[in-house]
């Protein structure tokens, strides 16, 4: 009986039922077992959507740019799903999800679906279930799925492993940011856009970025470096070109086979994360490690952290203990 309802929700999503699509996302976000059950069934219907990651430091204009990109694709008659991620408070768990404000005029377009997500304790710039929510949009038939990260600093680069192409958005005045980003975010980009290019400092930013990319030393030649585009999303300048370039990049990677390799790697990473999550649950909850740690603490600990960890794992009869220093 329940199984019929489950099948129904995925089928309804694929048939274009917006409420079903939204509820399926909620199940995914809550880690509801019914979602995993359904996802096993619709995996072979995924893959037609192009997944585009949009990331960059806070204030770079990501949401405004996403709004512009969606309009550009709508103008080319492509349907678009957007997953917009904002941070949860590590203290209260609450979140203010404000990305829709910049995409207000898209709300009533039947070819657009926007979902806001809070990070809920994840620190990679996306939420744990963002990949699943993107899958649901893929299942629902959206041609392009856009993943907008929280405003990132250096190392929040999960998005690169969740999409087919990663766009890093920068803005003039962010020169120092580039210095700080060399190791993380900068490596994640397949494409850069200098947004707010109507402001002074655009040329300097492009120069700094080129210099940083040269130092990156990847391949060396200009041709293999990620392209740098310029735009002013608020004024609508350069956005259509950027939208075209993003899709062209994905088509190029499809043609040379690198898209499939990337998707395989992304899938492999997701499986690892799912397995790791299950293993943690198994150890801490099912096998009672969390409870035994609490008990040990209540008794008054005399052991070092390493010794206590070893004791917990030893009690478990776990070979892992021998790996501890």
């Amino acid at each position: 009986m329940i199984l019929v309802g489950q099948t129904d929700l995925a089928t309804r999503t694929a048939d274009g039922d917006v409420s079903a699509c939204a509820r399926l996302m909620t199940w995914a976000e809550r880690g509801d077992a019914r979602y995993a059950e359904l996802a096993c069934g619709f995996a072979d219907r995924l893959g037609s959507a192009v997944r585009i990651g949009v990331t960059g430091p806070p204030g770079a204009g990501k949401s405004t740019l996403v709004d512009g990109l969606v309009r550009a694709w709508r103008g080319a008659d492509r349907s678009v799903g957007v997953v917009a991620v904002d941070p949860s408070s590590p203290f209260t768990g609450g979140a203010l999800l404000g990305d829709r404000v910049r995409m207000a005029d898209l709300t009533l377009d039947p070819g657009v679906f926007i979902r806001s997500m809070a990070t809920r304790g994840e620190f990679g710039g996306l939420a744990r279930a963002t990949d699943d929510v993107a899958d649901v949009l893929d299942l629902a038939g959206y041609d392009v799925v856009l993943l907008e990260t929280v405003g990132v600093g250096q190392s929040e680069v999960d998005v690169a492993r969740s999409c087919d192409v990663t766009l890093v958005v920068l803005h003039p005045g962010a020169g120092d940011t580039i210095q700080a980003m060399k190791a993380g975010l900068l490596e994640a980009a397949d494409l850069y856009v200098v947004n707010k290019d109507d402001l002074p400092g655009g040329d300097a930013l492009v120069a700094q970025l080129e210099e940083a990319l040269e130092l990156r030393g990847e391949g060396g030649s200009r041709a293999t470096r990620p392209p740098i585009l310029r735009a002013s999303a608020a004024g609508g300048e350069g956005v259509v070109e950027l939208a075209d370039q993003l899709l062209a990049t994905v088509e190029g990677s499809r043609a040379d086979g690198s898209l499939q390799r990337r998707r395989d790697q992304n899938l492999s990473r997701r499986v690892r994360r799912l397995v790791e999550g299950r293993l943690l649950q198994r150890a801490w909850v099912d096998q009672g490690l969390a409870e035994r740690l609490d008990l040990a603490m209540a008794d008054g600990v005399t052991l070092s952290a390493h010794a206590l960890a070893r004791t917990l794992l030893d009690d478990q009869g776990d070979d892992e203990a021998s790996l501890l220093p």
């Binding site: 409420s19 939204a22 996302m25 999800l97 806001s116």
Partner: protein, 141 residues
């Protein structure tokens, strides 16, 4: 498990008045109480509010209405929510709303409406209790 999930609320302002300070204060208070608040912004039509509520699969919609159009806007949003199958979504809000009007709206399926001077704790508590009740009904159904 379901009951521990963060409450998702859409906060928006329908109609023409442009005073969004109240909505922002409420949004911040709900966030600080651990809720995920989708901020919908100003000047939203009932149609747009319901489209957002459906896509975001929220537990509650909170509207700020200071324009005097509450007797039109709240029933309109309620009707469209019901039409969209979102019967279980709590519709609440506040603004300059006479007590008699608020009572009439509540009779018509709108949740409690809060006037000036309401404590934020009262508002937070109402949403927490009411959403928990609705989730319990949904689970047992």
């Amino acid at each position: 498990m379901t009951h521990d999930e963060p409450i998702r609320v859409l906060v928006a302002k329908p109609g023409l008045d442009g005073h969004d300070r109240g909505a922002k204060v409420v949004a911040a208070a709900l966030r600080d109480a651990g809720m995920e608040v989708v901020y919908g912004g100003l000047h939203k039509t009932p149609e747009a509010i319901v489209a957002m509520a459906v896509q975001e699969d929220v537990d509650a919609v909170g509207l700020s209405v200071l324009s005097g159009a509450h007797m039109t806007l709240f029933p309109e949003v309620r009707r469209r929510l019901d039409e969209a199958g979102a019967n279980d979504v709590l519709l609440t809000g506040g603004g300059i709303i006479p007590v008699a009007d608020a009572e009439a709206l509540t009779e018509g399926g709108v949740g409690r409406l809060f006037g000036p001077g309401t404590s934020l704790d009262e508002l937070v508590n109402y949403i927490q209790v009411e959403v928990a009740r609705r989730r319990a009904v949904k689970t047992s159904a």
